[in-house]
Amino acid sequence: MNVQRPRSAMPRRGAEQAPLPGAPLGPPRLLKSAGFRFAVLFAAMFACAAVALVAVLWWATAGALDRQTDAAVRADAVALAERWREAGVTGLAEAIEERLAVDVESESIYLLMDAEGNRRLAGNLDRWPPNMAPEEVWFRTRVLHDGLAAEARLHRVDLPGLRLLVGRDETERSQLRRLLTEGVVWASSAVAIFAMVGAWLIRAALQARMRPTFLTTAAIAGGDLSSRVALSGRGDEFDRLAQTLNMMLDRIGTLMEGVRGVSDAIAHDLRTPIARARAKLEDALATAPDEEALKAAVEQGIADLDNISRIFQALLRIAEAEAGARRAAFAPFDLAAVLADAAEIYEAMAEARGQRLTTELPSSLEIMGDRDLLLQAVANLLDNAIKFTPPDGAIALSARRLGLAVEVAVADNGPGIAPEDRSHAGERFFRADKARATPGSGLGLSLVQAVAHLHAGEVRLEDAMPGQTPPGLRVVVRLPAP
């Protein structure tokens, strides 16, 4: 039955004509773009890694050389102080001259002066460095070496009546530092370029991966509910997101189909009994010979309206079960006791029709769920079985635990349901051809199926007596055990 989609179910077109502020039309502004922020984050991380690398490199090269120089100068100063203690000023001066005489690298710097700084006693500096704070022990200064200004690292040692400078010319180390600095500058330029290119690639990749989702959601917002997010096939987070979105859209589609189905069913299947009740009442009003006949017609009308009301209640219950609204009321209970109660209620009805209702129930069958809904579902199954079983027929209600599941089965020896009709048996208002003559609304199995799904279970229809005629019907409700 092809039913036109109700106008109210269509997405509002106004969303296209008057976009909300910040609606995803066109590329987002740069600073609001997640892709841009990811790109900036990538560039920052890349730059941080580069800075850390340079710091380590610097510490391991120039820093190591500086530390070596300081260690050598300190050891030299300690040795000279020891020499002074052993051989006095003369021995110290001679030691300095000896060191200078074998300094092939021409790096060593010494200066020995009296405490006042007036008299130069030994060394290769012509005077004490100016602007040298007395409390400074380690310092750098510029000296004139081979006619060129050179950087020197100096250590001051004060001895009784003397002051001594021990140091090294750091020209070569300064050159190394300069070379390293140049390398760092060039490398920084390369890092900046790589960071920008990487950031741009990340942004482009993110936009490319988000584009199918964006297009799909935009299409759905525009009214095309059949649109789905295209998968890249990589199976990554974006594909998982797309799959979830598609599942969500499928679910929404199914729910909308269900809503449409209920609307159609109400429109078509309830119109008939309402019209029939109205016609009966109208006919009675026009043709009733006496008050008694009129009263009987009114009573019949009330009964018809009660029946319609029951159908509405059943529909609401099914909708409630399908929406999962009652899941919060789940509690543990003994299903065996509920089944026994149901059997007791329907046993009398079966006996009245000359049928035999047998049970095969365990002493206890703990389950987690909605007691009332499950009782209603079992009652529907028993009611169906009694209605469709011939007067001398047999109905069996059984239940058992099967591994991690609980199975409840209602079997009868009625006409059964043809295999081709079984897939439709759970649909609202569906009635098989064989059942047309039997009173009913076509909602019983719908409720059973909705209740089973609410409990994460399933409903299975099968022949109660395969190969026999009639085959009977066995309805098995399989629920997960707690």
């Binding site: 005489a101 074998v102 021409s106 070496h145 300069r178």
Partner: protein, 89 residues
């Protein structure tokens, strides 16, 4: 030109501050020191042995021809060799 300039600037920024005015002069890069070094070498017993002798001679020749720095380096190598030589031949 920008990169060397930037490198120079960075070098100056990274380097520890040093005194602006010219500092003291190193005195072991002069012809006089070359002479005193040659005299110190001559006073060593192993100065006449190789390689000290040839290194010393080469150092003095370089100093005399104006290559003071190289000459001093040679003489220092000669000193080092002479000090490292055994006391008796």
């Amino acid at each position: 030109m920008r990169q060397p300039l930037a490198a120079l600037l960075l070098t100056h920024l990274l380097a520890l501050p040093v005194a602006a005015e010219p500092g003291p002069r190193v005195t072991t890069d002069t012809v006089e020191y070359c002479g005193s070094l040659a005299a110190r070498l001559a006073s060593l017993p192993a100065a006449e042995r190789e390689p000290s002798r040839s290194l010393g001679a080469e150092g003095k020749r370089l100093c005399d021809t104006g290559h003071v720095r190289t000459g001093i380096a040679k003489l220092r190598r000669a000193m080092r060799a002479a000090q490292a030589a055994p006391a008796t031949p």
